[in-house]
Assembly symmetry: none
Homo-oligomer: 412 residues x 2
């Protein structure tokens, strides 16, 4: 059993939604990678009674708790006081803490405001965590079965303190056995279709499968126990990847992270020194925008009046729009001098802003030897259609670069 850790965030700005609790997310990632099991996040504001009862609750549930926030100098910073009351540990003045806080201000040629003196008051028997990145020292202490670590809420200070002063200590204090996480990153297939494919496979019970749908991809997450056989890990991963098929654009492993769809394309474009020109319609600049930082994108353009056919498409809309896109792609490839031209058109322009009506995308990739193309239907708000359009266009390029050639039969 992995040790159970909880994350506790203090701050009115968190509970009132002025900021998303990115500290909790960041800490959880580190802790999971170390081999902890994160069981709960809780955020409360600056009511001292809420803080006290939460600290007691956590002490009764978890093996470890990382708390952020509430260590500042102002009256709404109540963490130390709450710890003192919850665990019956009077606050004590810490001379070294005060020197460090003083030093922080001296370095900036400022006289320490009197309010900051409060930050040198730490609960009896706690261990001070020196903060070289701000004024609030952290501290840690054992209460009953639970090891508590208190860190400032400023993300930059919190991350430095955790990485440089807390992590190694946790590793000696707990017997941690990190699980191995493999993520199959897919695009173009839904969460439930993925699950139906994978459910047909028989997998060892020790392997856990999870799914995560994000805006730009769906991930299949495989969790292998710490001592799980490496060959078997690779075999299972490959078996699942094969079952999902060409939708998998990358496989991320602990020692081999994988980028997103554009990063995967970027690596293949750079390796083969190829370049791209794009004509966008439904995606309206978003294909180019997603390729920020990639020099192989030579040019991209969007024109309102070639967007799409208005009115109802003619009967053979498919062959008509594909033929048009192919012609445009040929010209663009020549005029731009790029290795590839990517052109996307769509039908039923009047449906674009109607979230209840779909549009159909006709995407063509022109290469040195011919072209590949596909048609996809997307629905939802304008923003969703735009994003899906950009991703489907990029995914056609990815499939070509990864030599899923069965998808590109249309060679001259």
């Amino acid at each position: 059993m992995n040790p159970k850790v909880e994350i506790f965030s203090q701050g009115e700005e968190v509970v009132t939604g002025q900021v998303a609790d990115t500290n909790a997310a960041w800490l959880s990632q580190q802790l999971v990678a170390m081999g902890f099991s994160v069981s709960r996040h809780t955020a409360v504001g600056d009511k001292i009674s809420d803080l006290i009862s939460l600290l007691k609750e956590i002490a009764s549930r978890a093996d470890c708790c990382i708390c952020t926030g509430g260590l500042g100098p102002t009256t709404d910073d109540l963490t130390s006081e709450a710890v003192g009351k919850a665990f019956d540990l009077p606050l004590q003045f810490d001379e070294i803490a005060l020197q460090q806080i003083n030093g922080y201000f001296q370095q900036r040629n400022i006289t320490m405001p009197e309010v900051n003196r409060k930050q040198a008051m730490l609960p009896q028997s706690s261990i001070r965590l020196d903060n070289e990145w701000g004024t609030a020292p952290g501290f840690c202490l054992q209460y009953q079965h639970c090891w508590f670590v208190f860190l400032p809420g400023v993300p930059y200070e919190m991350q430095h303190l955790f990485t440089e002063k807390v992590q190694a200590n946790l590793q000696t204090r707990f017997a941690l056995q990190a699980e191995k996480l493999v993520a199959l990153r897919t695009f173009g297939i839904g969460e439930s279709a993925l699950q139906e494919n994978i459910n047909q496979l028989t997998l060892p019970e020790a392997v856990t499968i999870g799914y995560r749908a994000a805006l730009d991809e769906v991930q299949v997450k495989l969790l292998f126990p710490h001592h799980f056989d490496e060959n078997l890990t690779a075999e299972i991963t490959q078996k699942i990847a094969a079952e999902i098929g060409d939708y998998v654009f990358a496989i991320a492993e602990p020692d081999k992270p994988a980028g997103d769809l554009v990063a995967v394309i970027g690596e293949l474009m750079n390796t083969t020194a190829q370049t791209l020109a794009v004509l966008e319609t439904a995606s309206q600049g978003l294909i180019a925008a997603k390729c920020i930082g990639h020099d192989w994108l030579l040019e991209s353009s969007y024109k309102n009046n070639v967007c799409a056919m208005t009115g109802s498409p003619p009967k053979d809309c498919q062959s008509f729009l594909f033929a048009t896109a192919q012609e445009m792609g040929k010209s663009l490839r020549i005029s731009s001098g790029a290795s590839f031209a990517l052109v996307q058109l769509y039908d039923n322009k009047h449906n674009f802003s109607n979230k209840n009506q779909p549009i159909t995308l006709y995407t063509v990739l022109l290469t040195a030897n011919g072209f590949c193309q596909h048609t996809k239907t997307v629905s939802g708000t304008s923003q969703r259609k735009q994003n899906q359009a950009a991703l489907f266009a990029l995914d056609l390029l990815r499939r070509f670069l990864q030599q899923k050639e069965s998808l590109c039969p249309y060679y001259d």
Copy 2:
């Protein structure tokens, strides 16, 4: 006393830190604005025992609870089951829910996967919340003293359901006395500079001022008590807006919501029936992408080789890049037939991907009578530079349209 609401998020992706819990932040903002007091956020993973105990805890503490996540079709989606067990409400098959889920797939020409049938099982006596934006219906129910609302975890679906199906119901169910929130939406000025300006004003003690820095704007939030005098509210708002100056692009009031920068521009473009053509460099498609759904954008293009000057700029870089941009803008305005041409160039291309080095943007807006221009320095990652570049370009157009004429002295 404001009614006490808690936010409960279900999902391994939240507790393991793969995503920050932006749902909790978004919901809290809405609820605070409605007059609730948000007392706690909790996130747990997909252990059914954790879910059950959390539901019982919340029922004993809060007047209302909004839960997100765990309504999907897969085996790790356990919210309905947990509700059934925690509150002793057997799950019942809902025929209308199944029809809607089926309809969602039919619209996309897909046969409903069998796993999705599970989403039509709802706790006995709960009220179904029809989800027109995805497959998972939400539901709500009273348990003891607490009103529970269960929503899907996909932010887009959750936000739509909350706004269109939940909010009005909460307003009739609870005696809410919302404070009046006025938000001054600004672009181009930092949080601390705003604060320094505003700190010089004397305001009634009952008015609370907050600041929120988002990616695309900084908001100054004024909270007026429920019964605060309306004329005085308007007077104070105007006084602060005047102090901030032209950075304010919109003022949002409870009965007069205001869109984002692009929405503000869109309204002005449509009222005056004007059109736009854009040449993008640092923004690489993002100006066009942000204008999705707006027909007044006639065209936009990005070309890698006109991006910027490489190497060190010459001494009079400013006049050089501005002159070039003006020439390009004149041609673009004529070739596109648009009312306005917006051209942006930047110097020091080799700094673009270096997050420790800034670039300087030269943006020119060509109009029927001449041009306006500005230069701005942006720093940070490629993504941040790209986004700021797009916003500064759009903001030049906004300032012109709002007739901040002092900014556009360069008429032929």
